[in-house]
């Protein structure tokens, strides 16, 4: 009798769960549609709250999946739910009969160009959090040339009925504060503004990060949502908002504007969800079996979730979620297939 487990998605959640399940003695297989493992983590430079290199975490995850069979550049062509297993056909022609399937399809960053009034894709010097991270990682950018003033715009594509997403993306406040500090490390003379509605610095050490941004780096936090951005002749940008604490509309020129694009359910994950007729909540992420305890379980026996496919999470939360999912799968197999080994 086989003890195959299939994991869909090779980001941090999929990798962490894969490693654990492999160590628990399962024959673990991981399918990743892109050409490398690591998901968004692989594109990130440093992680809040303490500025750890993303690569360190990724290296540990990679070391952890020793023995796991994984397929890159591979999609799921079909999944059939059988009596006590799943029949999965991959785009590379391989068919897998799995006892349990873990969905770890993660998120897509909100497409910032949809928020037209901010000018991403129209004005040269409007970039996203991901673009800035790429610059931090490579040190190369055509856009970032010794900026004298820099603005960070929170909640781009989040908490916004206009783009059809009312929910908060959870991680972008801390990311914005981290990135603001980092830009000051590179350009100490620059004036940095952060336009926020609420600063959601909820986690351990986050408030320290906020304090450091104020005290050490002198980041100017302005409580107001940016309403519009226009480009001036010299390519700098005019940003308009209300400073709601002074109750005055304000305008300010910046040389660089960074949009904190939020977390949206991955399109590729939605595709897999449709194959399985999975339901999702109003926020677009998959519904879990309940909302307190069974966060890694779907309503289909043998089908589990890990990571941001069930809503925005930080990296540590994602890894914990993946560990929990691995334990739930282990328990499920032991209960349903007592003679599996």
């Amino acid at each position: 009798m086989n003890n195959n487990i299939l994991i869909v998605g090779g980001g941090p959640a999929g990798m962490e769960a894969a490693g654990m399940l492999q160590r628990l003695g399962y024959n673990t297989m991981l399918v990743e549609r892109s050409s490398k493992l690591g998901g968004h983590l692989a594109a990130w430079d440093r992680l809040f709250p303490k500025g750890l290199q993303a690569k360190e975490t990724l290296d540990r995850l990679t070391a952890g999946i020793n023995g796991v069979k994984y397929f890159l550049d591979t999609d799921i062509n079909s999944i059939n739910i059988l009596d006590d297993s799943f029949n999965v056909i991959l785009s590379n022609g391989i068919t897998i009969l799995a006892k349990a399937v873990l969905i770890a399809t993660g998120f897509d960053l909100f497409k910032a160009e949809k928020k037209e009034e901010y000018g991403y894709g129209i004005y040269d010097r409007v970039i996203t959090n991901a673009d800035l991270e790429a610059y931090y990682k490579t040190g190369k950018s055509d856009t970032i040339q010794n900026p004298k003033s820099i603005g960070f715009v929170h909640c781009v594509g989040s908490r916004d009925e206009k783009v059809g997403n009312l929910s908060c993306s959870k991680v972008c406040c801390a990311t914005a504060v981290k990135q603001a500090c980092e830009i000051k490390q590179r350009f100490p003379e620059a004036q940095v503004y952060s336009f926020y509605m609420d600063l959601r610095m909820f986690g351990r050490y986050y408030e320290d990060l906020y304090l450091e941004a104020q005290k050490k780096y002198g980041i100017r936090f302005i409580r107001g949502r940016v309403s519009e951005v226009s480009e001036k002749e010299d390519k700098s940008l005019l940003v308009k908002a209300e400073d709601t604490l002074s109750s005055k509309p304000i305008k300010v020129s910046v040389d660089l504007l960074v949009l904190m694009a939020g977390i949206r359910p991955a399109e590729a994950g939605k595709r897999v969800g449709r194959m399985l007729h999975l339901s999702n909540e109003e926020d677009g992420f998959f519904s879990t079996k309940d909302t307190i305890r069974d966060l890694q379980m779907s309503k289909i026996p043998g089908l589990f979730f890990a990571g941001t496919c069930t809503g925005p999470k930080t990296i540590p939360e994602t890894l914990n979620d993946a560990k929990s999912a691995a334990m739930e799968i282990d328990e499920y197999i032991k209960q349903n297939f007592p003679d599996r080994k």
Binding site: R159, M197, G224, S227, T244
Partner: protein, 109 residues
């Protein structure tokens, strides 16, 4: 009278007990979205009238909740009902209808 060397000013503290719940409920009946505002300031920032006359829907909503109806009306005096704030409100509030409703409920005061 003894001169104590100081005089008593009226308090600048807002008294939330002054909040006119009855009128606000009436407003909320007319335009339930008044309760949805998250005070982001997008309306004020984008207001076409705001350049010339202090116009702020956000401040008006807040003033109503703080029992300062007169101030609330002042914040809307410059409004030309252009509807630009409706385009930007992230909570999807029909701001023009809200402004008209505020004026209907409180305007005669």
């Amino acid at each position: 009278m003894t001169d104590f060397g100081y005089s008593i000013n009226t308090s600048s503290r807002m008294n939330l007990d002054d909040f006119d719940k009855e009128s606000f409920d009436k407003l909320a009946e007319m335009e339930p979205d008044v309760r949805k505002c998250m005070a982001c300031g997008s309306c004020t920032a984008s207001c076409t009238a705001g350049k010339f006359h202090e116009t702020s829907l956000r401040s008006a909503i807040l003033a109503l909740q703080n029992g300062q109806e007169g101030k609330a009306i002042d914040f809307l005096k410059g409004c030309m009902l252009c509807g630009k704030c409706t385009m930007v409100c992230p909570r999807g509030i029909n701001t023009r209808h809200l402004i008209l409703s505020i004026l209907k409920v409180y305007g005669t005061k």
